[in-house]
């Protein structure tokens, strides 16, 4: 008798739970969970998970008469090209996901893109900025975030309007840092005076040499092309060394979490480009920031916003293509897609590059921020 009971209990456990979603769709994610870029990787994952929870929260999404729940299959590529490519290969052929999102390092995305094309699985990257990625004429490669060219154009346009000559740089010695530094030097007009250009390896955190050389060039503004962690350190060391040049930062430096690492008077007057001002009055940004703060207990980050939108773009593409398995159809849908994401309306040009608005925000002395560009979104302190 007992054996019978046991089997039925087991059988019940295996029956598919009769929730209202009929099937689940697994989306591939490639990111860096370990290695030097583990920290930015965390924000990327937070963005993905937030979007998935939200979609699954309101019952998944509808294609025809079946509703689908979302699931993520995540692989750690550790910013290593070989591991990135093999993760992409595994996603495309073993897990057979319809679409892959993510990646942090440009060279790794460059290694994953050809596999996306070979196996017709669209790859939508949400963080890497190298311009060459979208120049390869690969129809299966899309980029949600602005590339270094777009970011630099917006910033160069702004830098010209302020008195920043001679402009110095402290930049990561990787794709983001070098792309930014080289880009700015090309985009700023001929004869624009540059001060000191300093590079440092990912993981190095001693900026004393750079600061001395910047003071030596008595430059008016310093452009910091790095992520949040080294950025906070650089600013602290710059102000501790008594240098009061104007600071120009990247998208990681326009958030309250950045503020907690330093304090208001360190940041006062600092300007940075950002794909996503967390407290902007826009309705879509506001509720993203609130849900993010509620789930993770800290303010959101540009990478999270870009990745969050990435999931919605993928879902809209599957809905438009009416399939969750045919990569080619999803690709065609992606090419025509237009989604009102958190970072702006996302639609891809023929090279697969979206062009979300690039905001410029400025720190006020009370520790809040104001948006100073683009004009149509301008807002004063507290809304940045």
């Amino acid at each position: 008798m007992r054996k019978l009971l046991l089997t039925t209990a087991l059988a019940a456990a295996f029956m598919a739970p009769a929730a209202y979603a009929d099937e689940t769709v697994t989306i591939g994610i490639v990111t860096a969970q370990t290695g030097p870029l583990a920290a930015p990787g965390k924000f990327q994952m937070n963005g993905f998970n937030l979007a998935v929870d939200e979609i699954n929260g309101n019952g998944g999404f509808q294609i025809g008469d079946t509703t689908y729940k979302l699931e993520l299959k995540v692989y750690d590529t550790r910013c290593n090209a070989a591991e990135g490519a093999s993760a992409m290969q595994r996603l495309a052929t073993v897990d057979q996901v319809p679409i892959v999102l993510g990646e942090l390092c440009s060279p790794v995305a460059a290694a994953e893109a050809p596999i996306a094309q070979d196996f017709q699985v669209p790859l939508v990257v949400t963080v890497p900025t190298a311009q060459s990625l979208t120049e390869q004429g690969n129809p299966y490669f899309f980029r949600v975030n602005a590339n270094s060219g777009q970011l630099n154009e917006a910033l160069a346009a702004f830098v010209e309007t302020i008195d920043a000559e001679p402009l110095s740089f402290i930049a990561w010695n990787n794709d983001t840092g070098r792309g930014g530094a080289n880009g700015m030097q090309e985009l700023l007009p001929e004869g624009y005076k540059f001060g000191y250009i300093g590079f440092f390896n990912v993981g190095e955190v001693d900026f004393a040499n750079h600061i001395t050389n910047i003071r030596n060039e008595d430059s008016k503004a310093i452009m910091l092309l790095m992520d949040e962690e080294p950025g906070a350190l650089a600013i602290r060391q710059i102000r501790d060394a008594g240098l009061d040049a104007k600071l120009i930062g990247t998208l990681a430096m326009g958030s309250n979490r950045f503020l907690d690492r330093l304090n208001a008077d360190y940041l006062e007057g600092m300007v940075q480009y950002s794909s996503f001002p967390p407290n902007a009055p826009m309705e879509r940004i506001k509720n993203f920031s609130d849900t993010y703060k509620e789930k993770y207990g800290e303010e959101s980050h540009g990478f999270a916003a870009q990745s969050y939108d990435g999931i919605f773009v993928a879902v809209e593409a599957m809905k438009a293509a009416g399939t969750t398995s045919d990569g080619a159809a999803i690709r065609d849908a992606l090419a025509e897609i237009s989604v009102d994401g958190v970072i702006g309306t996302i639609s891809f040009d023929e090279k697969g590059q979206a062009s979300p608005p690039v905001y410029i925000t400025e720190w006020c002395e009370d520790g809040s921020r104001k948006i100073i560009a683009p004009e149509e979104f301008a807002a004063d302190c507290g809304a940045g």
């Binding site: 440009s106 060279p107 290694a111 060459s132 794709d175 070098r178």
Partner: protein, 328 residues
Amino acid sequence: MKLSFSTAAAIVILAFGALAPFIFGGQPYILYVLTLALCYTIPAIGVNILYGYTGLVSLGHMGFAGVGAYTTALLMKDVGLPFVPSLFGGMFAAGFLGFLVGIPCLRLRSHYFIIVTLAVGMILYTLFNNLDGLTGGAEGLPGIPRPGNIEIGSFVLDFRSLTGFYVLTFIIAALTFGLQYILVRSDFGRSLSSLRQDESLAAARGVNVFGHKLAAFVLSTAIAGVGGAMKVLFLRAAAPLSFDMHESINLMMMLILGGAGYLVGPVIGAITFIALPEFLRIAAEMRLIFFGFVLLILARFAPRGICGAAEAAYRKLTDKEANVVRYT
């Protein structure tokens, strides 16, 4: 017909390699991982000639692989040379750099030579990362073309497909293995291993110590160049991070894991180090800790790696008398 361990193992592995496209035709992922393992086998063979036979430790070898990789990639992408001349170009570039580094540094005592190879590896990595114009710098060099197709009668070998590229990599890896087989089984191999065992004695018997070391070093850097080129062609993108110090240390680890001084050491090491973690994907973060402990255990108890243990087992199996001409 009693086969020595290495010849038997070589036959088994070559057979497995040749049949793989048919066995795993349906699973592209396994074929993919095997191709990647083969791409690592080639530089591992180079390091085996240098460390396994001649006893010289090099901790910067992936730097030379990088030189071969970027040279071949640029020859194919910008200059438009076909595959074979570009590959030879990469090989000569890496070998020539090995020659330039070898001439001054091979006279140094063992500790200093290791440190020099580490320093050379670091310098090469910095050059790959900083020369944006030439190597695409930190953004990597995307869009590296695969070799053109080969039509023999109706049969078309398309290297853009996974199976096609696997066949190409397998052929080149087999050629490298053949080169190693010839060199090591010849008197040249015996002279190299005499250097590892006792340099002064080898000199007293007429071995030109510096000459042989230089030849071994140039050979190993050239082979590493070929390996680097194949890896970059396979990934179709070159990234500086795949040629840094950590990769060189992994390459050394692969060889020691497989069994330094054995003909099949490199390929077994590469397969275990590359394929195993891909299959136990779930333990991604833990695998490096796992390999760390494996290294400690190997260093302490089985310095001859997997091949050492396999050879002992093989000898018990075929109870051959102790023919210990180890480098067969």
